[in-house]
């Protein structure tokens, strides 16, 4: 069954009267799911699942993980499994899980939703895919309601036909990005380099025509933009800003970002992050909250290798978003074990840190 974690009480406490619009949009999304024949079970952790004998839990990552383990165990006794978990609400409502950072890079703990799929430092793969639809912050119920409405519309529209892919890469990483596309069976003609590409001068028609957008750009501290870099490893140049997306639609598009902090949600000043801007434009987003890594030159490794496997998995026929996300991680780990016999700290961090913003049960391709 596809599980939906809806912290109704916490959302009501956090948003007050604003919760009404969230509830209406959530009901529409759940109805659209039902119409798409997705067997769904909703639960509020603070209520538990009495029908399965699962006790209520606080909204802390440790309690939620224990509760999910109990749900999975109870389902197993009834020959059931969790096929996916969809979390409704941002980290201010349901916190990200925290895992030890194996790298000595001063980045702090890994913040990720993978713990809600039972991944850990020893068991690096989720047992079921996890996706999240975040809010724009505690004061903005409209954002969460809007994102849920977009998901309802996407379910109603059904899986999209084979769409085009577009890659955006720093010029410095052009060889790695081209290798990622080539190894995923995609044409390198779909790769745009920054520079010359820069913010304010994007071919918006080409951008919105893509159903899969792969971004190998830099992310920084103190700016919402993603940046390009010339071949000479010199200064970073803004390539994509939230303002570049004004008025554009990315409905049923999946965006993979390898940028550091690419999945950050909290606005900087008055400007929303790229992840939130893409979500509000209708996209699903795959990225990391902390520092990300890759090799400066081919062959693809770390987040480049994950992106390669995501591109393959997301183009597989009949795939659901969460299943593709999970299968790309499995493929990456299988590759690493076969070629290296084990994992380095950076491999481990990469496997744990990427999150999926979107409904994991969404059928993404025919």
């Amino acid at each position: 069954m596809h599980l939906v974690l809806v912290p109704r009480r916490q959302l009501q406490r956090g948003y007050g009267p604003g919760y009404e619009s969230i509830s209406t949009a959530l009901n529409a999304a759940l109805s659209a799911r039902a119409a798409a024949n997705i067997a769904t079970q909703i639960y509020d952790p603070e209520d538990g699942m009495p029908e399965l004998g699962v006790a209520p839990a606080e909204l802390t990552s440790v309690s939620l993980v224990a509760q999910l383990a109990a749900i999975a165990g109870a389902l197993a006794t009834r020959n059931g499994i969790i096929e996916s978990l969809w979390i409704i609400g941002g980290p201010e409502t349901v916190p990200f899980g925290s895992l030890p950072n194996p790298m000595r890079d001063h980045d702090g703990p890994i913040m990720s939703d993978c713990v809600y799929g039972m991944a850990s430092a020893q068991d690096l793969l989720v047992h079921w895919p996890v996706g999240r639809t975040p809010a724009g912050g505690a004061d903005t119920p409209d954002t969460l309601a809007k994102l849920l409405s977009l998901i309802a519309a996407a379910h109603k529209a059904g899986p999209h036909l084979y769409g085009s892919i577009l890659g955006l890469s720093t010029a410095r990483w052009s060889d790695v990005s081209a290798a990622v596309l080539a190894m995923a069976g995609e044409s390198t003609e779909n790769l745009l380099l920054a520079p010359p590409l820069c913010s304010g001068q994007l071919d918006t028609g080409r951008l919105t025509a893509a159903k899969l957008i792969y971004c190998n750009l830099h992310g920084v501290i103190g700016s919402t933009a993603w940046y390009g870099q010339s071949l000479e490893d010199t200064d970073l140049l803004p390539t994509l800003r939230p303002a570049d997306l004004d008025g554009l639609r990315f409905d049923r598009t999946v965006v993979i970002t390898q940028a550091c902090f690419g999945a950050k949600l909290r606005s900087i000043g008055n400007e929303q992050t790229m992840a939130m801007a893409l979500l509000e434009a209708g996209a699903a987003v795959i990225g990391a909250i902390g520092l990300t890594y890759g090799s400066p030159d081919p062959p693809p490794s770390e987040s480049d290798l994950l992106a390669q496997h995501l591109l393959i998995a997301l183009r597989s026929p009949g795939q659901r978003l969460g299943a593709a996300f999970m299968s790309a991680h499995q493929a990456m780990l299988r590759d690493l074990l076969r070629h290296q016999g084990g994992l380095d700290a950076d491999d481990t961090k990469t496997l744990l840190e990427f999150v999926l913003y979107g409904d994991p049960a969404m059928l993404i391709s025919l």
């Binding site: 000595r104 520092l291 890759g294 090799s295 950076d346």
Partner: protein, 109 residues
């Protein structure tokens, strides 16, 4: 008093550090003055055996890598300013094996 083996390790580490510093300084001058964090890699990450089974990997495929040599990873972490006032993290991790060869380089995105 340190043993001969300890002194050998110290010497290996010093040599590996020089290799890593030279390489990083040449490629990323902004990291030239950074003292790296050092991690000795003698065994790879230990994985849950159940995970290997779930992946459908034969243990024999992994055993072929059991003789991997020890190595050091040097992590150089810094930040640099961007023209628009933002700050870019700059982290390079260089792994040097016991033959003083650079076997892996990764860079923050």
């Amino acid at each position: 008093m340190s043993s001969r083996a300890d002194r050998r390790v110290d010497a290996d580490l010093r040599d590996a550090l020089q290799v890593a510093k030279g390489f990083v300084s040449a490629r990323w001058p902004a990291l030239a003055q950074v003292e790296p964090e050092v991690t000795r890699i003698s065994t790879k990450h230990s994985l849950n055996p159940d995970l290997i089974v779930r992946l459908g990997i034969d243990q024999g495929e992994l055993r072929s890598h059991d003789q991997a040599a020890s190595a050091y990873t040097f992590t150089f972490a810094s930040q640099c300013g961007v023209a628009d006032g933002a700050v870019a993290p700059l982290v390079a991790a260089v792994t040097v094996d016991d033959q003083q060869r650079i076997v892996k380089t990764i860079l923050s995105k």
